[in-house]
């Protein structure tokens, strides 16, 4: 009895003590308004010369400008470091005018020297930034406010297509290149030109960005942006549900719908410049004498029939749980300026597919798969084990094409293995060893050159993984790259899309989404952008503009944690309770002073 009393008394005392600990124990950055964004992993490096991941881009895009930024409305070129630009008559000289008042966050002026250094050095040494400046022959800086870029031949990418951040030369230029591309860690705060600059980076924990005092635009509403790392997606989502963070930058497809059903949480599904495709091995004998594949894959009718035999809406609904967008050709609708739904679009039509294959002489065999002249429509279909939704796609495709007598043997392999199969070389020549595979690509925000370049003959042995070769396509690519008029350029790009729709080097299965979630009770002025009304919450990795208007919701509870957690009190109560019990038991036993019964 005494023991029990003692236990209760101790437990209550302990719990009260813990709960009563000064609630101000945790001081929250002095009343600043903080935007908290959660992510599973943080950037491996915020040095743009070596950083590789999307998280790094997210930080860079807030910290720095490009020479030409993107409009958050339609992603078209917008003033960046350059306020304006003129194109010469022959379209080979472009003059950019900088704002003479513009300053870096450390107060030094932003000049043409910064632009020149960044394009030349980051544009050639930065892992993710090469290739953008390949057509540039010279960069002249007659005065601090003017940059003149000359190109070998007209290159439309110069405006809106050079995705190379402009870094302050007075900081980065002092570091030897060998170090920049090695283990160099930039000093914090990062000197930048965007609305916030990174001020603290505690790897594995938190990346803090604070207002840039010299930002040229309107001052952002939040004083501070914090990116908080949680290690895994499960923990990020929990943090959002508990209100520890305001935005989840990347939500898993599997939990997207469920999160949207939580109170005070809104989910956003926005388009991105990336897609997932079914790729065919089209390598011609000329370029790949030692390639290994089922030759039937190079029969265009077969590929077209396969395209008709795949229900892309179903892939999206089941394979991606409705979170992606069904694919319509090699150019995602994200490229608003250049996109149009292709005329030849292969709506799901297994009857038509069967008809086409029948007409082409592919005879249904006893095993349910078609043959012709000893060739069977049976293909290996490789998918990466690292991409569960791709595996779902592959299984569904194999199921669907069974209806049209085409067999896909799904082979789940590691990224390394698939890379090995696609980049295999024999005697210095490409020798891909696959029939088909599912993988994906992502392009730049505005200029579609990168995605279009994947089908160039010159990319065989380089980036091309369909090994498509078509001189007409190559010619159109060259032509469009020199056209500055958007409408004109779009017309030619549409011709290119039409060619790939006809020849089907890829069946683009779905356009990948950006999935985000945010707390509607914490954020005000949320306007979806990039592109307007359809895009994401803060235009991740593309434009910092939407961040400027994002504000704390009126009446939102402050982010203060308050006192100690209830759990700690419970544990303290437990420990002290047990301690009290033992103590009490001992005291009472002494009093009674009689030996306990000896167990048998």
């Amino acid at each position: 009895m005494r023991a029990r009393l003692m236990a209760v008394a101790f437990a209550v005392c302990a719990a009260v003590c813990v709960l009563a600990l000064p609630a101000s124990a945790q001081d929250d950055s002095g009343g600043n308004s903080v935007l908290r964004i959660g992510w599973a992993q943080d950037p491996t490096s915020i040095n743009p010369f070596v950083g590789l991941d999307e998280e790094a881009y997210t930080v860079w895009a807030i910290n720095w400008d490009l020479l030409v930024n993107f409009s958050p409305d339609d992603l078209s070129p917008a003033p960046g470091i350059a306020e304006s630009w003129d194109v010469s008559e022959d379209r080979k000289t472009i003059t950019f005018h900088l704002d003479p008042e513009a300053k870096w966050s450390d107060g030094k002026p932003i000049t043409s020297a910064d632009v020149k250094w960044s394009l030349e050095v980051l544009g050639s040494e930065g892992t993710l930034f090469t290739n953008y400046t390949s057509n540039i022959t010279s960069i002249q800086t007659p005065d601090p406010e003017t940059v003149i870029i000359k190109t070998r031949r007209p290159d439309a990418r110069i405006i809106g297509g050079i995705f190379v951040y402009i870094l302050p030369k007075h900081v980065w230029g002092k570091v030897p290149i060998k170090e920049l591309t090695g283990s160099y860690k930039p000093e914090l705060p990062l000197v930048g030109s965007g609305p916030y600059v990174a001020t603290e980076y505690d790897r594995g924990q938190i990346l803090r960005m604070e207002r840039n005092p010299n930002f040229r635009g309107e001052a952002p509403a939040f004083d501070e942006v914090q990116f908080i790392r949680y290690g895994n997606d499960d923990a990020v989502q929990r943090a959002l549900t508990l209100g520890e963070i305001d935005i989840v930058a990347e939500v898993e497809a599997g939990s997207f719908e469920r999160l949207g059903e939580e109170p005070d949480i809104e989910t956003v599904q926005s388009p991105s410049p990336a897609y997932t495709e079914l790729s065919f091995n089209l390598c011609p004998e000329r370029y790949c004498p030692d390639a290994e594949f089922n030759p039937a894959v190079q029969d265009r009718t077969v590929r077209q029939a396969i395209a008709y035999g795949i229900d892309r809406d179903r892939l999206n609904a089941i394979g991606a749980l409705g979170t992606s967008f069904p694919g319509h050709g090699i150019l995602p609708p994200f490229y608003r300026s250049f996109y149009e739904v292709p005329e030849q679009d292969y709506p799901y039509d297994p009857d038509l597919a069967n008809q086409m294959l029948d007409d082409a002489g592919w005879v249904m065999g006893d095993d349910g798969f078609r043959t012709k002249d000893g060739e069977e429509l049976s293909f290996d279909l490789y998918v990466r084990s690292e991409a569960p939704s791709d595996i779902q796609y592959a299984k569904l495709i194999a199921e669907m094409t069974r209806e049209i007598g085409v067999e896909f043997n799904v082979q789940v392999v590691s990224v390394d293995k698939l890379t090995e199969l696609t980049i295999r070389k024999v005697d210095g020549k490409a020798a891909p060893e696959f029939d088909t595979f599912i993988w994906g690509w992502g392009g730049d925000p505005y200029d579609p050159s990168f995605l279009l370049s994947l089908f160039l003959t010159s990319e065989i042995g380089g980036l091309s993984d369909s090994f498509y070769a078509n001189p007409e396509y190559d010619r159109l690519f060259r032509e469009q790259s020199g056209i500055f008029d958007v409408e004109q350029r779009k017309e030619i790009i549409q011709q290119m899309v039409a060619i790939t729709q006809r020849d089907v080097p890829y069946v683009v299965l779905s356009y990948d989404p950006n999935l985000q979630a945010y707390r509607s009770d914490r954020l005000a002025n949320v306007t979806l952008s990039c592109p307007a009304d359809e895009g994401d919450v803060f235009c991740e990795q593309v434009s910092y503009q939407p961040l400027l208007s994002l504000a704390p919701a009126a009446g939102a509870a402050s982010n203060d944690e308050g006192g100690q957690s209830a759990g700690l009190a419970v544990v303290a109560a437990l420990i002290f309770g047990i301690g009290g019990y033992l103590l009490g038991a001992r005291v009472s036993r002494r009093r009674e002073n009689e030996p306990l019964e000896l167990p048998e």
Binding site: P22, Q205, I228, A566, G567, L568, P599
Partner: protein, 322 residues
């Protein structure tokens, strides 16, 4: 004599360590082709690959590479993480204290609670309390620790969200005092440490219970009991100390399991220790880091074994007289 025994143990541990270092070299340089690991970009040109090889000293003959490797390892130059471009040692150095904290608290609690439960069960042999404790510890002993961890999250962080279940302290907070920081870390430590404790508990319980049963049936206990000492005093001051010895042995053997548990439990709770570092390295195929964490885990376990041997040496008169 005793000095020689100790010296022998130290020498054996060193030998094991040398083995680990050699093994590590051959595993990563010979089994996996280091150039494919180095070149993250599949489109790297042969020239770039040559440059990479030269940068990493891979163009030298294997013997030369080995000498370099041993020298680097001894000076804690474990290479550069392919993922973060930090030196591997920096990453490991930052992670070690957190792993030690988790593992230390877990082991301490498991030893205390496990052996207390063992004593309880042994003195109540055959009764319902004994059966209950036995069943409970067999269950925790067979259950995967990461599963227990997930269940803890489900119950205490989702169904009744009273504990944080991620990271080692609240991110983005500036603490006004060391006490505030201490309680915050403690708060975050509770769930992972509980998982670690539950993982280790069963073995300590079983060993304590059976050695207590053995001790309690020995003659000297009967004699003490006959002299009229109260039962609980007999247990506390005579039986328990005698049953402690196997506990030390067990602790040494457990260190291997602890290392495994650190990997999975830290992953579940995003606890920023060596385990999570290894997990991230697995996921991003960051071989230098994986190699480094394996080395450190092995070193830690070897060292712990040696310490346990020394402890055993002081506790057990039989060893000393040898």
């Amino acid at each position: 004599m005793s000095g020689r025994w100790l010296a022998g143990k130290v020498a054996a541990s060193l030998l094991t360590l040398v083995f680990v270092i050699i093994f590590n070299f051959f595993l990563f340089r010979v089994m996996g082709d280091p150039t494919t690991q180095l070149a993250r970009l599949p489109q790297a040109t042969p020239k770039e690959l040559e440059q990479l090889k030269a940068d990493y000293g891979l163009d030298k003959p294997l013997g030369g590479q080995f000498v370099d490797y041993v020298g680097d390892t001894l000076t804690l130059d474990l290479g550069i993480s392919q993922r973060s471009r930090e030196t591997v040692w920096t990453e490991i150095k930052d992670a070690i204290p957190w792993t030690l904290l988790l593992v230390g608290v877990g082991t301490l609690l498991a030893t205390l609670i496990g052996s207390w439960m063992g004593v309880m069960a042994a003195t109540r042999r055959g009764k319902r309390a004994d059966d209950g404790l036995l069943g409970f510890s067999l269950f925790t002993y067979a259950a995967p620790e990461y599963w227990i961890g997930i269940i803890l999250i489900l119950v205490f962080a989702v169904a009744f969200p009273i504990f944080p279940a991620g990271q080692q302290m609240t991110p983005g907070v500036e603490f006004s005092s060391w006490w505030a920081q201490f309680t915050d870390v403690l708060d975050h430590l509770i769930l992972p440490a509980t998982a670690m404790t539950l993982m280790l508990l069963g073995q300590y319980f079983l060993i304590m219970r059976s050695s207590m049963v053995d001790v309690l049936t020995e003659d000297f206990v009967t004699v003490k009991r006959a002299t009229g000492l109260p039962w609980d005093r007999v247990v506390r001051s005579h039986a328990v100390p005698n049953a402690l010895l196997p506990l030390v042995t067990l602790a040494a053997i457990q260190f291997g399991a602890v290392a495994g548990g650190a990997i999975t439990i830290e992953t579940i709770f995003s606890w920023p220790g060596l385990g999570e570092l290894s997990f991230n390295a697995i996921q991003s195929k960051d071989f230098p880091v994986l190699q480094g964490t394996f080395l450190v885990f092995s070193f830690g376990v070897i060292l712990a074994n040696l310490l346990a041997d020394c402890l055993y040496f002081y506790l057990d008169p039989r060893v000393q007289s040898r």
